[in-house]
Amino acid sequence: MTRDVVLLGDKTLSLLARHLNAELRQAGSAWNVIDAGYDSWLVAPLDPRSALFAKATAAWAFVLSPRVLENVPDILAQLDATLERLGSLSAPPTVLFSNLFADPLHAMPLANNLERHALAASVNERLLSFRETHSWFHVVDQLGLVLQHGIDALHDPRFEATAQVYYSPAGTRALAALWLRALRCLERPQKKVCVLDLDNTLWGGTLGEDGADGLQMSDSGPGLAYRRFQRALLELRRSGILLTLCSKNNRDEALAVLESHPDCLLRPADFAHLEISWDRKSQAITRTAQALGLGLDSLLFVDDSALERAEVARLLPEVDIFDFPDDPARLVGALAAYPGFDTLRQTDEDRKRADAYLEEAQRNASRASATSAEDFYRSLELRLTIFSAASEQAARLHQLLMKTNQFNLTAERLSAEEFRALLADPAYLVLGMRVADRFGDSGITGLALVDRRRPAAWIVQNFLLSCRVIGRTVENAFLAWIVGVAARAGAQSVAFRCLETPRNEVARNFLRSSGGVESAGSWKFDVRRPEALPQHFVSIDAAQVS
């Protein structure tokens, strides 16, 4: 099924629509681009007959050129009015808004451009603060595109005069590539793991031949390229991407470098999993995915050796292979060009994710020393907060719905717009769940979509938990709590829908052992028999649920 995205701008965007549609078709995307026409950005949102309000329209994309700073005298007031209009829509679409830059080709540039740049910065600040409070609003970094390529490479006054396009045909290709990435990351799960080689990847040189002292990763000279790459990888980690190692080396020697080399920025604790051995890389990567509980299709493999890349590509075709540059100075640029980690928005849970794997290692150590499973669960001091979802949590909950594969009863994905419609539907109870224990706060890691259209027989359309929090009886507590709420609301039964997928065996096994009765693809729980539900060791704090 295709989903329409309507382009709105101050100039003609039909050339962008032409290129973007060609790129989207080639990428196998469901997005279809429609051009709202010349100078449509202020008028079309006010016109209920415009393409913006058509049924198939799922997203609006504002692509403003720097000419708005020259042609719209009260640009800040006009922008505020547009944002207010967007904020007042009862069912807002997904909105993408490009940030702005000032064109420096003007009379008296030394004096007059400074104010123009400041005005563009004010526009961008307003966009960011609106984004802060509206989960469906995203900013697309047009400014970054222009800084990267330069206006002379993107704009041509002849084409502007001939056809009212700000971007030249060559510039439009670059702009379409940016918008392709923005639209694709709204419909595709983000990759989760960056699997890294060591020699000539994290540092220059080979540990076995050059020795620890001969490795290049210092702040100057040829090592700088690797140091900057390590810095970029730490930024990935802070943004929720897991780093793992996959190196053919002597384990103790490699660990000694990571632990104590003065120039090495990455330390062993930065990696969620280590594979340092002489095994085949395809085997090491398979073990990595298993250890993290993730599918192979969540992984990117980064290795300077074409032979290793070829081996992994042949044996593990689901794994993405990093386009490793010939020149290490291009490593950071190549990472920026890789679209698999793209996202338009980061959640608190993303920022916590890498540390969560460290907490999990501490939990496992505690589990190993506990005398019984029950003792272990009690020692965790588990706390669950269950809440009726509001729009502030929509971004994270939708992310969870899109990314969770293993503990997901149906693996049915909803678009961001469909999800927001459920949130607004009083017949549905959309429940979010936060988990914390004495080792750390895992944040929002559970979601249930409860259909109450038949008051006596509730149906849980989907029930899912991040695999980071399962195995601590949290899932038992969440299920029991839902059954309890149904009982208090006067329902007689709660049925959990369950569809088999290749990846959700864990979730199906959980449901099978939870005391329900199966019929026609769902498991039904009798609210009068709470004693049949599985035991848990969790204190639950629930906000008022309506």
């Binding site: 050339l15 032409r18 001939t162 045909p169």
Partner: protein, 77 residues
């Protein structure tokens, strides 16, 4: 300059994303659905890149058929 006909043809086919058999040496704008005023911008830009030339503003408005474009390249390029 002498315009290499196969280079010229390939450039136009790529630019307009023509299907096989749609190319004719005497095509003009509007003759095939792919060649509208928007695609025309790509035709001009791609020819400039392929043949290392630069159209003037007036040329951009008046060169609207393959014979005209080919003649211009032979005369100017």
């Amino acid at each position: 300059m002498t315009v290499d006909e196969s280079r010229f043809r390939e450039c136009i086919i790529r630019s307009l994303r023509l299907r096989s058999g749609e190319y004719r040496p005497d095509l003009r704008i509007g003759d095939v659905e792919q060649w509208d005023s928007v695609a025309h911008l790509d035709v001009l830009s791609d020819l400039e890149k392929e043949f290392g030339v630069r159209f003037g503003l007036d040329d951009m408005a008046t060169l609207t058929s393959l014979p005209e474009l080919r003649n211009w390249l032979e005369r100017t390029g």
